[in-house]
Symmetry: C2
Subunit: 242 residues, 2 copies
Amino acid sequence: MLTTRKESVPLYVQIIDLLVSRISSGEWSPGEIIPSEINLARELDVSQGTVRKAITELVENNVLIRKQGRGTFVSTHDTDRALFHFFHISDNDGHKVLPDSEVSSCRRRKATRYEAAKLALQTGEKVIRIERIRKIDSAPTILETVILPEQAFSELGKNDDCKLPNMLYEIYEKQFGITIHSAEEQLSAVNANQQQAELLGLEEGAALLMIERVALTLDKTPVELRISYCNTANHHYQNTLL
Amino acid sequence: MLTTRKESVPLYVQIIDLLVSRISSGEWSPGEIIPSEINLARELDVSQGTVRKAITELVENNVLIRKQGRGTFVSTHDTDRALFHFFHISDNDGHKVLPDSEVSSCRRRKATRYEAAKLALQTGEKVIRIERIRKIDSAPTILETVILPEQAFSELGKNDDCKLPNMLYEIYEKQFGITIHSAEEQLSAVNANQQQAELLGLEEGAALLMIERVALTLDKTPVELRISYCNTANHHYQNTLL
DNA sequence: AAGTGGTCTAGACCACGTA
DNA sequence: ACGTGGTCTAGACCACTTG
């Protein structure tokens, strides 16, 4: 299973890779407990300290969560994680507020060349395109377009009349077994076109913050493209550089 | 020096605090080597492993850098760190490009109420206000205003006729002994006013990405307020969510 | 050759949660 | 009482850098 040391790949790195592959393969699902450090150490024939070091790195990487006295668990997309890691809009007092969301459109069509490139799809593959209007304190604030590969999310929004929960990543995880682990965002400023301005109650040409996000699974597969247009009159995008 | 264990503050946390205070106090300066793990362990009468754990956390926090076979050093603001941690503008191919900068104004005056709040100053304290135009491929792309507390940076830009290097954080460190460790950024989209549009070669009302940054030292003291207006026609703000 | 950080082990004891 | 993770120790050996 594990190669001997001196092969230049440290044991704890091999253990990290092993744990990641077991999680990616679905052997351990989000929210489930994994074997204790001592049992993993016995199974892999290494010391507990080495297993501990591997787990520590995965905890820092938000892949696992330790709970003292209980055990170590695969991370889930609860509201806290969504809020702290994947939602960066705050009001001007610095408070995060989760917006409502209202699906305005949900269609299937072939991916554009751009979408195919961002999601690493073959040309001609189908995608699901969801449009939402997100309100904060009942004021329409964000226009959001979500592009998903149809193959992985085939049943999404079909039978339930496009009713979708607020936090999409939770249903990706629960209904499709797809866990978003990281994302790349590109932010820019654009002038609202006539339609956007109307939907957000602004003048045409008003400045909007455009956020383009590609969300990735643990094994770096891109699974969602999301483009948001935010009215930043009363809100902003908050980022901490460490 | 260190309290006994069982006092509920783990030894390695006490060691972290101790190391941080020695760095903050200037006992060890950026770029300098700190004592070896084994010597620190002897000095503090703990095991090497405990010192190692403390140092590991500071390395992950970008406070220290380990160099195998050589020793452990206090982090410096070299170009790499500036680029990877504190500069998030990329061109639309995803390449980071460091802009030139040209100081257009450098004045001293009393802090506005807003500036005083952001920099935790008393009302009436003086600040240095620097304005720069930053060019990428010789195209004016970013208008930047930097506000610094005069007390800490008293001689900045006085004798040298407002000539300032591209990377300000390096001279904060070298000339004033102030190391920027983290920053909070707030991004929003605004419409260019007439003056901004002219300086950036745009139409009035064009959308600009406004970035407001407060930079902090290791002990969380705010030391710089920076407001940037970016033309994001050919560039964007790149952020990775982990 | 000597000193540094990097990996790994074996074992002790503590703090916490569950049964 | 038991099992879990959390802290700490003492020591071995490896990999790298410098004199």
